[in-house]
Every structure is written in structure tokens, then in C-alpha cells.
């Protein structure tokens, strides 16, 4: 620690403080500010040169004046890591928020996180059963995957995330996940909802919470997910845990990023977000997966709300370009009273192909999932046509498909918030519903599975 306190601030702009005449300051170095009223703030160096140092202040610059003292702490941001993190609630900067003692560190880890060598990765292939039919059948989650929820304001993404956190397990195994939960700018009410649910189910004992709420400093949000992922990496790769990281709301994170960009007068990219947002998000999302020679894993479940329900908005768009699929929540389905309102059509799990089938889920899974998807897609499309030409104009096949799309939503998608369906139950349910379509129209189903599983036509 350099120890020296500078009083050489020249400019304060948005969340940034500019100062001059310092000793050489490291890029990324952690900074402490002592305001004239004695209160403390923290920050980080964004730009450093012989002439000028730019500091981003996590708590915002309210109250900072030219007399504020600035101390450089000699090191980049590190999180004290320990197994004792499990069961703890920390604030957005990593300080205890649960009234408990300080974390006794077993070590310190740089929160930026080095990239995993692609050569050292191991392909994810273990099926995670979430107990939610739409996900397990159509957008199967794989251990080590990063699969975001694309939602929008007012939709029940939190319920879905919690249900997944509660129910997620490997098939035929009681191995538990450690949940690392990271709140970025969500409301106190949302947070309490998460916390009380985790408390109620006893999951809190197996969780680590990092909490930055809506009224906490916005800039702090830029480090909160990095703390959470650093903790996750430590638990997964040093202590063999399977970690499920739930973070919400990525949109608030991106807005904080935009704020910094604007204060630095950077050339903005689309809709004012910085041009490097793709890379910045990748530095979070890519901290997932499995690596050779380690037992643990990190599965990521980020939640983002699409501004204006627009999937082409830069936040969902850039996320989709990085993650391994997405689960899309639909306002329309929510409006028709369906929970979970997952629209399977734009949803995708890119790792699904390698993790379903005889050895992992069931031999007919792929065939069934393709057929369910195709039939529902066609049925949905026919709704548009019916609106124009009327139902009478439909032929027999189209009528069946149209009816099926209703059943799909009502019986397959719809389930209660604590209903935990096994993959067998889910697939059996699919067969049950597909009875409503004559087998001659079920062209995506292999005959051998019809012979084996079809409720009325099996041999």
C-alpha cells in the first residue's frame, strides 16, 4: 500500500474523478476516497498516465469535491475467498451484509478472472433436470452451460429462476448445487422475494448472495457479478462444487456500463451502449463450464429484461451471441395465464444435442422434442390463418395441429410453481398429448418409438 493521500482532483464528471500529479498509479488499481465529511468511497483506475489518472467511483461521486483525499491501494480488486462464503450474504462490493463476521480468507482472487484456456475446457454433457417440462424437453439445460432467461418487465422470470434453483438436479443423483446469487440493481422487494424463498427451502445454507440493489450505487454493479463469478470459480475449481450462478438483472449491469462510457465521452455504439459491451459481457458469460482435471462446474443462469420486449435490443442481442442458447419468456403466454410462460419457439439450448438420449434422458427424447416443437410451431402459425379464413377452411391435419397448440400450452407448458416433473413424466406427458394428432401426421417421430411409447398404438 502506498499510503500517500492525494488532494489533486481536478475534475469530477458523472461517476469519474480525474486527478493529477500522482506517483505512477497502476491500471486497474483500487482507490479509496476520503470525502471532506470523513465518509469513504471506493473506486478503480480506468486510465493512468504521468499527467492524469481517471478513477471510476463505485458509490457515485455525490459529495466528492476538489478537497477529497484519494489513496491508491497498490493492488487490483481482489476478493477474499474461502469455503466460509457458503451461507453468507454480501453486498455489491463484497462486504458482509448479513451482520456476520468478516470472511476469513483462505486466499485472494483477482476478480477480473483470467480466461479459461480453451484447450483446458471439457465439453459439458450432463443433463440437468429442472423439473420444468418446457425446459427439460425442448431447451435442455446442461451442467456447465450458460443459458440466460430473456424476459421483460412484469414477467415471472424470478419465479422461474427460483424454481430452477430449487429443483435443479442431475438425473438419479442427489448431488446438490451451490447457488451463487448475484443481484444487480433489482428492487428490495425482488431481493426479499429471492431471499425468503431461499430461506424457506433451506437453500440459503448452500448459497452465497452478492447483493446490489436498485438504490445501491450503480457503478458498483460493474464489480458485483465479477465478485460472484470469482466466488463461483473458487468453489467450483478449488473445492469441487457444482455451482449454479443466477444473476439478475443483466440489463441494469449494461446500463451502468453505458453510464461509465458516457462519462468518459466514448464514442457510443448502438443505442448508446459502449462498443466493447460484447467483450465486457463475454468476460462474464464465458466464466462458465467445466475444465479438465477438476470435478466442479459452473452453470450460469443470467436473467435479463429486454427493453421494450425487443429481442434485437443490444442487451439480449449481444448476450445471445455469447451464451449457449436462451429461454424466452412470453408476455402473450403470461397474459393468457400460463405459468411458466416460456415460448419454446425462439428458445434454444445449443448444448442439448450432446446431452439427451438413451444414456442420459431417454432414447425417444430427441424425436419427441422435435415433434412437439414442429407440431406446436405449425399449430401456432395456423392461428394466424384461422383469424383470416376461419376454422372451417382448415383440413383435418391443420385442425388437429391447431387444437394441439392449445393443449401444448395448457397441459405441457402449464405447471405449478412447485411442480417438479421428472424427465420421464415430461416425456410421457408429451406422448399423451400427441395422441391428439393422427400418427400419419407425426412425421418427425421414429416409427420405433411410436411402436414402443405411443399410448394407443404401441405394440
Amino acid at each position: 500500500m502506498s499510503g500517500k493521500e492525494y488532494r489533486t482532483i481536478t475534475d469530477v464528471k458523472g461517476p469519474l474523478v480525474f486527478l493529477e500529479k500522482t506517483e505512477p498509479v497502476a491500471y486497474g488499481e483500487i482507490v479509496q476516497l476520503r470525502l471532506t465529511d470523513g465518509s469513504m468511497k471506493n473506486g478503480q483506475v480506468l486510465d493512468t498516465s504521468d499527467d492524469m489518472v481517471v478513477v471510476q467511483v463505485f458509490e457515485g461521486t455525490a459529495g466528492v469535491d476538489l478537497g477529497t483525499g484519494v489513496k491508491f491501494m497498490g493492488d487490483v480488486f481482489k476478493l477474499p475467498v474461502s469455503k466460509d462464503l457458503i451461507g453468507r450474504i454480501l453486498d455489491g462490493a463484497g462486504r458482509p451484509r448479513d451482520g456476520g463476521p468478516a470472511i476469513v480468507a483462505e486466499g485472494e482472487a483477482d476478480i477480473i478472472g483470467a480466461a479459461i484456456n480453451p484447450y483446458s475446457r471439457q465439453s459439458p454433457h450432463d443433463f440437468i433436470q429442472t423439473g420444468i417440462s418446457a425446459i427439460d424437453c425442448c431447451t435442455t439445460l446442461v451442467r456447465g452451460q450458460k443459458l440466460p432467461i430473456f424476459s421483460a418487465s412484469g414477467l415471472p422470470h424470478n419465479d422461474i429462476a427460483l424454481q430452477i434453483a430449487r429443483q435443479a438436479k442431475l438425473k438419479d443423483s442427489d448431488e446438490e448445487f451451490i447457488v451463487v446469487f448475484c443481484a444487480m440493481g433489482i428492487t428490495a422487494e425482488e431481493y426479499n422475494f429471492f431471499r425468503s424463498d431461499l430461506e424457506r427451502t433451506g437453500a440459503l445454507e448452500n448459497a452465497v448472495l452478492f447483493v446490489n440493489l436498485a438504490d445501491d450505487p450503480a457503478v458498483e454493479r460493474l464489480i458485483t457479478p465479477r465478485l460472484a463469478l470469482t466466488a463461483a470459480e473458487y468453489l467450483a475449481f478449488e473445492h469441487d462444487y457444482h455451482v449454479l450462478v443466477v444473476y439478475t438483472d443483466v440489463t441494469n449491469y449494461c446500463d451502468a456500463l453505458r453510464q461509465i462510457g458516457a462519462a468518459r465521452e466514448e464514442v457510443p455504439g448502438r443505442r448508446g451502449y459502449p462498443g466493447y459491451m460484447y467483450t465486457d459481457l463475454a468476460m462474464l458469460y464465458e466464466r462458465a463450464g467445466l475444465v479438465k482435471g477438476k470435478k466442479g462446474s459452473i452453470t450460469q443462469f443470467p436473467i435479463l429484461t429486454m427493453p421494450g420486449d425487443d429481442i434485437t435490443h443490444p442487451i439480449p442481442d449481444l448476450s445471445g451471441y455469447i451464451t449457449e442458447g436462451q429461454i424466452v419468456i412470453s408476455r402473450e403466454l403470461h397474459g393468457s395465464g400460463i405459468y411458466p410462460p416460456i415460448n419454446v419457439l425462439p428458445s434454444l439450448s445449443r448444448l442439448m444435442g450432446g446431452c439427451i438420449g438413451e444414456k442420459t434422458t431417454r432414447e425417444d427424447h430427441k424425436s419427441v422434442s422435435d415433434q412437439m416443437y414442429a407440431a406446436y410451431a405449425q399449430g401456432r402459425e395456423l392461428r394466424g390463418l384461422v383469424a383470416i379464413v376461419g376454422e372451417d377452411a382448415l383440413n383435418e391435419r391443420d385442425k388437429q395441429l391447431l387444437d394441439f397448440s392449445g393443449l401444448f400450452e395448457d397441459k405441457f407448458l402449464r405447471q405449478s410453481r412447485d411442480e417438479d416433473r421428472s424427465i420421464d413424466e415430461t416425456l410421457d406427458l408429451c406422448w399423451d398429448l400427441m395422441q391428439n394428432i393422427s400418427t400419419k401426421y407425426l412425421v418427425r417421430l421414429d416409427q420405433k418409438w411410436i411402436d414402443k411409447y405411443h399410448p394407443t398404438e404401441k405394440k
Binding site: 505512477p24 498509479v25 497502476a26 491500471y27 486497474g28 488499481e29 480506468l46 486510465d47 493512468t48 498516465s49 504521468d50 493492488d75 483477482d110 483470467a114 480466461a115 479459461i116 484456456n117 480453451p118 484447450y119 483446458s120 475446457r121 465439453s123 459439458p124 464514442v267 457510443p268 455504439g269 448502438r270 462498443g275 466493447y276 460484447y278 467483450t279 463475454a282 468476460m283 464465458e286 466464466r287 463450464g289 475444465v291 479438465k292 482435471g293 477438476k294 434485437t312 443490444p314 445471445g320 455469447i322 449457449e324 442458447g325 436462451q326 419457439l345 425462439p346 445449443r350 448444448l351 444435442g353 422435435d370 416443437y373 414442429a374 410451431a377 390463418l385 383470416i388 379464413v389 377452411a393
Partner: protein, 580 residues
């Protein structure tokens, strides 16, 4: 302070400014106490602006900056194949050995294994007069690929001594009469194209085994193609299919700013996949470059140059090389990020004004050439483009489309319908058919181009008819148009759709493609006749033999059966008409 050593003045992310050195543009320098690798990208009076290939956190002004005198170069020689590199040619397995699972910084690694011993076989003799680029000997680099050791560009002379035997890549295998010593390894600066005698117009297709590509929108060996598409539309699956099945002799696959797991997948899969063209594992012909989205952006910027230089090097041996870059948009974004740190005047959407010229220079390095040795070699470049929101009016897509002659446009709607490959047959194009048609006539079938035209016009007609169907339903159309819709559906489902993950369906040879296309037209003819003879559309199109014809393509040996299946279909269609 000498001109060779300076100090850091400023650090802003990956961009570092140094004072006190007199460096040259694109010179490699060592930055900070840890000696991080960087490249000079701008000079301002006594200040050198450096892009650093590793994370700069914790570095301070005042730390040293040291010149190396060299420009950013790759090491070329035996040992490139089967290797996986980061953007600046550091082998990832070596990085794993020295630093473990996570990529820390400040570690150097040679691109080639300098210790490994290769069997060098001289192909020239003492006294031979050689020019630059001439082959002096060979090394069996992998089971399938013979590595040709060439005189580096700029070197020529009479052979004074040469020896076959076991050498590593830094030992001298040949000396020229002026005393120049030649090793198997040569270096080349990545930002300069390697020389050749002349460029030829491409006249041979790169056969990919993907029906929609080869048949409708063919790419020539030595050509360039762009694959734009929104997320999840199939860019990576298409690129990987090309890496697996295309009939290039060497494949350079660049994962540029994309996912770590996708590279792992290639690494897991390729050693076990058999090249349909040689019967040997695909890995033998492959070089991979992986600079994933979370690895340093400056190294991402360099990765495409590293890749194309390696591709040119194999081209110079007389090989047909195919290079895939997934995704060029991430490369462009790396340029944008660096440019904005340099506070350059931005062009469209914040990209630097030189974006389109960089894109053009890159794709210009594709081509079919006469090598310095006088052989025929080619580099084919296939670049994925990731337009924001899937809207290709943005600068990277537009910059790419202005240069490439093949556009394979991926379509979110098709992907959502699970129509794969989700290449839009109405908006995609290839400008190569003119130069390739003679090849198709000579090698596949004399009427190949005409069949292609018939297939694409059927798809056009379908698009027009669909607009009517949207309004009135298909039953309102006359029977012949309903048949056209049925034929077009067959084109889409039987011919255009191809499952990239299916062992058999993923690859179709050209002969099979031709037969499948003919089968569709035969169906159209037979059905027309049957309808004229009084058959009912419903009966005619639903004959079981047609379903068999379509489904059977998933079983091995389809090429040998397809004629029989078509005959059977014709019989059943004729019979369906008679029943009436």
C-alpha cells in the same frame, strides 16, 4: 535512455503509450516488468502507441518498454498441423503446461516445437540453382500431409550443401553458395501477404457436401464467401461442416472472439472424424486458432492475420487451403475498440474509417495462384458475420458483401422453423457459376447448370404462390399450381434441408446432389402426366415410394439406391392415375 528502451507514459485498457523509444510501425515491443507482448500501432512525435496482447491490469506508468526490432510474425514450418494456437500463435497446450487451466500473462511460447525431430528428405541437389519459394525438401508432417520445405521469399542462390536426415526446425538443412543457411522454420510478418507469381481466375468448386451450397450457391477454390446471420442461425455449424467435409487439403479454422466451448468441441471431435476425401482423421489437415471472446481483444485483432498467413504458407506448397473465420464481426469490433482508445475519428457506428479497407485487404488474400514454385495453390476464405440484431445493413456486413462473391445469408425465421441449414435461398447468391459451370458439365453432368436453374426457378415461383396462399389458402389454387407447391416443398425438405449432425445426411457428394435434384424434377414430370391422365393430386403426391425416396437418404449407400427408388416412385404414380 537509449532509443531501444523507453518507459510507459499512459495505460488505457489494451492500449499503452510509451515515450523514449524510436520504434517502427507494427514493431513488436515488450511492455512492463512482465514483458507483455505488444505491437506498435501508431507513432506521435516521441510517443509510440502500443496495443498489448495481454491484460494490462496492475501495470504502471514508468515501467520499461523494450524494442525487439521485429514485426509481428508467425513461425512457419513442420508442426503447424493439428496444433491449436491463440491469436498470436502461442500453442494452447504449451500454455496449459506452463500456467494451468487459466491463461495468465507474460508467458512466451514458440509457435513451433523447436525440439521435435523431423525426417527431412532433400529434393534438390548440390549445384541446383534455386529461386525464392522453391521447394528444397519434404517432411511427412502428418499421416496425410507432406510438408514442403521452401526457400523463404527473398532468398535465392546455388545449393552448396543439402542433406536428408533427422533435424529439428532450427537446424540448418541446406546452405547456399553465398553462405545463407536454410532451416525448416521460416518467419513471416502476419500483416503482409506472402508473395506468389500470379493470380488466376478460379475455375474449380470447393465441394462442401452441403447441397444448398454446392448446388445453388457454389464457392470456388480460391474464392471468398460471407455468412452473415443473427445469433443461433447456424454460422458456426456451417463453418464447422465446411471444416469437416469440404475438399480442401488444408483447413485453417479461426475462432475469433467466439465461445470457448465451441473450440473444445472441435478439439474433441476432429481427431475422431474421418475426412471423406482421404479416409484419415480430419485433425491431420487442420490448424486451429482460438482467441475466444474473453481473451485479450488485441490478440483477437491479430488472430485473423495469424490464420491467413498460415493459410498462405500452405498455399505456397501448392495446396488448396480453406480458411474459416468465425466471426469477422468480432475482429471488426476489436478494431473498433482499439481505434476508440486511440481516440481516432470514428466512421459509421463507431467503427474506424479504415474498416472496409481492412476487410478488403483481408479477403484479397484469398485467391488461386501460381506459386513461386510454379504450382497451383489456393486459399479460400469463408467469413462468418454477426450483424447486430441480424440486420445486415450495418458496416461489417456491407463491407464484406462489397468484396465477397458468395453470400450465404442465414435467416432467423428458417432457423426458428428448424429448417437447417437456415440459408435463405431467395436472398443468397454466388457469382461463381459462370466460371464453374464448365467444370460441373465436365465432371458431373452435362446438364448440371440447367438443372440448377430449374430448381431455383421453382423456388422463386413458390415464393410468389405463397403470397397468394397466405390470402386465400392453398385449396383455392388450380391443381397444377398446387403441384408446384408440392414440388417446391420437396426441394426444401428433401434437398435443401440437411442435418449437420447426422452421420449420413451431413455430407452429400456432387453426384448424389445431382441425382436428388433430378429425382425431384422427375417427380414433377411423372405427377404432371398422372394428373393429365386423370389422377387425383392427393393420391399422386402421397405414393409411399416418394416418402421412401425422401427418407432413405439418411441411410448409407443412398447414391446406389436412388435410381431404383425413383423408378419405383414413377411406377406408383402411374398406377395412382390408373386407379381412377
Amino acid at each position: 535512455m537509449s532509443d531501444e528502451n523507453g518507459v510507459i507514459y499512459r495505460i488505457s485498457g489494451p492500449v499503452v503509450t510509451a515515450t523514449g523509444i524510436r520504434s517502427r510501425m507494427y514493431e513488436v515491443v515488450r511492455v512492463g516488468h512482465e514483458g507483455l507482448m505488444g505491437e506498435v500501432i501508431e507513432l506521435h512525435g516521441d510517443k509510440s502507441v502500443i496495443q498489448v496482447y495481454e491484460d494490462t491490469s496492475g501495470i504502471r506508468p514508468g515501467e520499461p518498454v523494450v524494442r525487439t526490432g521485429q514485426t509481428l510474425s508467425v513461425q512457419l514450418g513442420p508442426g503447424l498441423l493439428t496444433q491449436i494456437y491463440d491469436g498470436i500463435q502461442r500453442p494452447l497446450p504449451v500454455l496449459e503446461k506452463t500456467m494451468g487451466t487459466f491463461i495468465e500473462r507474460g508467458v512466451d511460447a514458440d509457435g513451433l516445437d523447436l525440439e521435435k525431430i523431423w525426417d527431412f528428405e532433400a529434393t534438390v541437389s548440390v549445384g541446383d540453382e534455386l529461386e525464392s519459394g522453391n521447394v528444397i525438401g519434404t517432411v511427412q508432417e502428418t499421416e496425410t500431409i507432406v510438408h514442403k520445405v521452401m526457400l523463404p521469399p527473398g532468398t535465392s542462390g546455388k545449393v552448396a550443401s543439402i542433406e536428408s536426415g533427422s533435424f529439428n526446425v532450427t537446424q540448418t538443412v541446406c546452405t547456399l553458395d553465398d553462405g545463407t543457411e536454410i532451416q525448416m522454420m521460416q518467419k513471416w510478418p502476419v500483416r503482409s501477404p506472402r508473395p506468389f507469381k500470379q493470380k488466376y481466375a478460379p475455375d474449380t468448386p470447393l465441394v462442401t457436401g452441403m447441397r444448398i451450397l454446392d448446388f445453388l450457391f457454389p464457392l470456388a477454390k480460391g474464392g471468398a464467401a460471407g455468412i452473415p446471420g443473427p445469433f443461433g442461425s447456424g454460422k458456426t455449424v456451417t463453418q464447422q461442416s465446411l471444416a469437416k467435409y469440404s475438399d480442401a487439403q488444408i483447413v485453417v479454422y479461426i475462432g475469433c472472439g467466439e465461445r470457448g466451448n465451441e473450440m473444445t468441441e472441435v478439439l474433441d471431435e476432429f481427431p475422431h472424424l474421418i475426412d471423406p476425401n482421404t479416409g484419415k482423421p480430419l485433425m491431420n489437415r487442420t490448424v486451429m486458432i482460438a482467441n475466444t471472446s474473453n481473451m485479450p481483444v488485441a490478440a483477437r485483432e491479430a488472430s485473423v492475420y495469424t490464420g491467413i498467413t498460415i493459410a498462405e504458407y500452405f498455399r505456397d506448397m501448392g495446396y488448396d487451403v480453406a480458411l474459416m473465420a468465425d466471426s469477422t464481426s468480432r475482429w471488426a469490433e476489436a478494431m473498433r475498440e482499439i481505434s476508440s482508445r486511440l481516440e481516432e475519428m470514428p466512421g459509421e457506428e463507431g467503427y474506424p474509417a479504415y474498416l472496409s479497407s481492412r476487410l478488403a485487404e483481408f479477403y484479397e488474400r484469398a485467391g488461386r495462384v501460381e506459386t513461386l514454385e510454379g504450382e497451383d495453390g489456393s486459399v479460400t476464405v469463408i467469413g462468418a458475420v454477426s450483424p447486430p440484431g441480424g440486420d445486415i445493413s450495418e458496416p461489417v456486413s456491407q463491407g464484406t458483401l462489397r468484396i465477397v462473391k458468395v453470400f450465404w445469408g442465414l435467416d432467423a425465421g428458417l432457423a426458428r422453423q428448424r429448417h437447417f441449414p437456415a440459408i435463405n435461398w431467395l436472398s443468397s447468391y454466388s457469382l461463381y457459376p459462370q466460371s464453374l459451370d464448365q467444370w460441373f458439365r465436365d465432371n458431373i453432368a452435362t446438364d448440371f447448370p440447367e438443372i440448377r436453374t430449374e430448381i431455383s426457378s421453382l423456388l422463386q415461383v413458390e415464393a410468389e404462390l405463397q403470397e397468394i396462399v397466405q390470402l386465400v389458402g392453398s385449396d383455392a389454387l388450380p391443381v397444377d399450381q398446387q403441384l408446384t407447391l408440392e414440388v417446391a416443398r420437396m426441394i426444401r425438405e428433401f434437398f435443401l434441408q440437411q442435418n449437420g449432425f447426422h452421420d449420413v445426411d451431413a455430407y452429400s457428394g456432387l453426384e448424389q446432389q445431382y441425382k436428388m435434384a433430378k429425382a425431384i424434377l422427375t417427380f414433377q414430370d411423372s405427377a404432371k402426366k398422372a394428373l393429365a391422365a386423370g389422377g387425383q393430386l392427393e393420391d399422386v403426391v402421397n405414393v409411399p415410394a416418394r416418402t421412401n425416396l425422401m427418407r432413405d437418404r439418411f441411410e448409407p449407400g443412398y447414391l446406389d439406391r436412388v435410381d431404383g427408388l425413383v423408378d419405383e416412385m414413377n411406377k406408383q404414380i402411374a398406377a395412382a392415375a390408373e386407379e381412377n
